[in-house]
């Protein structure tokens, strides 16, 4: 037989693939999804499912129109849809949710070239556009365990500081779909860390900075960490591969920047919540951080150091 296959080495590949990574992220988000269904009722699950399906549908249509290969199977659109839904109040209409998905998938992701080429986290862009367009609908927080017939709305913990840590941790407070139950989010985050999908550098820097900033300015650090979308943003959005720095020092800088911006917006700006703006602003700074930080193993560090030392001689 003369027709053997000839390829460049290596001839074996690992078993991690983009779709597997995205599947793990979805699995990690499931506890929070179940918690939201428990806290806010069936509509929360319906909304999440609607966002996921419309995100995948829009992705497929974009692929078709732009004559690209289908990228639905890598599941990144499903993750975006899920994250966007987690950032919406349960009372929002399906039409507005669809608009958010459209901005996220079509404008923020596909127009920039699809997965890997978007400069900002699509779910965050979707949320911010909705927040600026429909401020009333986007802050119409349902109170937990409401009655389907008469949706009562209440304040988020960031607006009125009147909830116990236990309430905040278990998520029985008003807020966006997926952000309230910290316990479920942390279970998901631990899963991602255990599966080595994310390294906790950026989240720890993010949360740590918020804590320190709050304590220094005389506020309750733990309350700030447990309220709003901080845990969701830190573990699931500030760890997005595409839009955050690629090196560990870069990730730490990114996390610190997010933390400072979040606090500045929360404490001194007119908005009660600043996590999404902070992450978006740091997304924009990511190429600069990448330029400034280069990861080196000890061996390579020594090699480069010695070369540099000899060149200066």
């Amino acid at each position: 037989m003369e027709n053997l296959t000839v390829t460049a080495s290596p001839h074996e590949r690992g078993d991690v693939s983009t779709a597997k990574i995205m599947t793990d992220v979805i699995i990690a988000l499931i506890p929070a999804m179940l918690a939201s269904g428990f806290i806010f009722g069936g509509r929360a699950l319906m909304l999440t499912g609607f966002c996921m399906i419309s995100a995948m549908g829009l992705e497929r249509i974009c692929n078709f129109v732009m004559k690209r290969e289908s990228s639905v199977s890598d599941l990144s659109a499903a993750v975006t849809g899920m994250l966007l839904a987690f950032n919406l109040p349960v009372t929002i209409s399906y039409f507005k949710a669809f608009l958010g998905v459209f901005v996220a998938i079509v404008v923020a992701k596909q127009l920039f070239g699809g997965l890997g080429h978007n400069f900002a986290n699509p779910a965050i862009v979707g949320r911010i556009v909705l927040l600026l367009s429909f401020p009333a609908a986007m802050s119409n927080w349902a109170v937990p365990f409401y009655d389907d017939k008469a949706i009562e709305t209440g304040a988020t913990p960031l607006a009125v500081e009147a909830f116990s840590y236990k309430q905040l941790f278990l998520g029985t407070v008003g807020g966006s779909l997926g952000e309230t139950c910290k316990a479920a989010l942390l279970i998901g985050a631990l899963y991602l860390i255990a599966k080595k999908i994310i390294i906790p550098a950026a989240p720890i820097a993010f949360v740590g900075t918020v804590y320190l900033f709050s304590m220094i300015t005389g506020r309750d650090g733990l309350y700030q960490i447990l309220s709003g979308g901080l845990i969701l943003g830190a573990f699931f959005m500030a760890t997005d591969y595409v839009t955050t720095p690629i090196t560990v020092p870069g990730k730490i800088i990114f996390g610190i920047g997010c933390g400072v911006l979040t606090c500045v917006i929360r404490f001194y700006a007119s908005n009660p919540e600043g996590v999404s703006y902070a992450i978006l602003l740091m997304n924009i700074a990511t190429p600069l951080i990448d330029m400034a930080t280069v990861k080196r193993t000890p061996l390579a560090k020594k090699i480069i150091k010695q070369t540099a030392a000899e060149e200066t001689k």
């Binding site: 003369e2 053997l4 080495s9 074996e12 061996l299 390579a300």
Partner: protein
Amino acid sequence: MLFRGIELKDKKNTSQSETLTLPLPEQVSIMMEQNMGAPCEPLVKKGDKVQVGQKIGYTNAVLSAPVHSSVSGEVVEIGELLLANGKTCKTVIIKCDGLQTVSDEVKPPVINSREDFIAAVRESGCCGLGGAGFPTHVKLAAAIDKKIDYLVLNGAECEPYITSDHREMIENGESVISGAKSVMKYLDIPKCIIGIEGNKPDAIAKMQELTMNEPDITVKKLKKEYPQGAEKIITYSCTGIVVKEGEFPADKGVIVMNVSTAGFIDSYLKTGMPLVRRRLTVDGTAVRTPCNISTVIGTPLRDMLDYADCNPDIVWKLLIGGPMMGLCTYSIDYPLIKTANALLAFAAPLKTKKYIEANRQTACIRCGRCISACPMGLMPTELEKAYDKKDKKRLGKLKVNLCMNCGACSYVCPARRDLAAKNQLAKALVLRKDMGGEK
């Protein structure tokens, strides 16, 4: 411990299989380009009678090693063979007479000095038997006017499947040690370290037992991590010495040598028989009885596969060397070369469509896995982008020349990008002068 690599599945199916000797093939074809460096010119012509150990190829180039006949018989043809990289190479095809008469050229070398020793190693046709195939005498000659502190014997064998060095240490440990001692004696090297990966406890035990009374030789257990056996890495793991970009270990007072090379040097010094035979692992999914085989250089690969119960019709990919750095061959009738430490035959994947889908290249998602996998701390994804822009300046800044093509980045990439292959193209691009690149 000191560098970060990747974890690979061992798949060392043959670590306990004793080396078997392959029956003499009917015909061998000996390539004039056996190892890294300049190709040799044939010294024989059609119709000549040759004997075992007779020199049949030679060139004056420094970076080369002579080629010897591995069998006795008659030269039937001086042919041209197309290599997988598109070059052609002269080959001497010899019909074996089955007698294996040893040539009178074969006699133990007389050695009185360093220079004699290096010349003898050159005459032996010896090249690195670990896979890369750097002519050994060039490595030793780099040390001729330098003080060498360490001889590092490389027994890491970090690639999956391959066990030929492992078997060398088990079956031929005495020769390995005595070869190392000769190198130490002639090059005045005070210390020798044998680096073996922790997945070969029996080899470590055997080497420790043999070096019990040798205070100058130590055995070092290395962490099982790919690519532990790369020259710069094993130098660092064993001695802590850092070898920079564009340097030989000899510049830093270290000589790195494969254990099988040391074993061969010992047998050459004792018998004078040049490198005409080697041990290799035959394995892979298409091979039914994986084994270690000792055979003459130039044996057609088909003979070895037959011996290992491999049906040639189901072979889809044939590798010379390991799955991470080995080279593909396009034909099953390709001859064995000196540097082949393994022959791996793989059957076509059962679900072709699924396989193609799973290995399709998709966009980089900047996960950073390639960066944490790179043992040299390079940024393969950034290198790829710089290469796509043909940005030579950036490639230089990112130290593309430190890449040794270990393939760890391609292995871990979830988007299945061919990062290692791109790095090789980038290295070639940096060397080219006509591409401008002053962007």
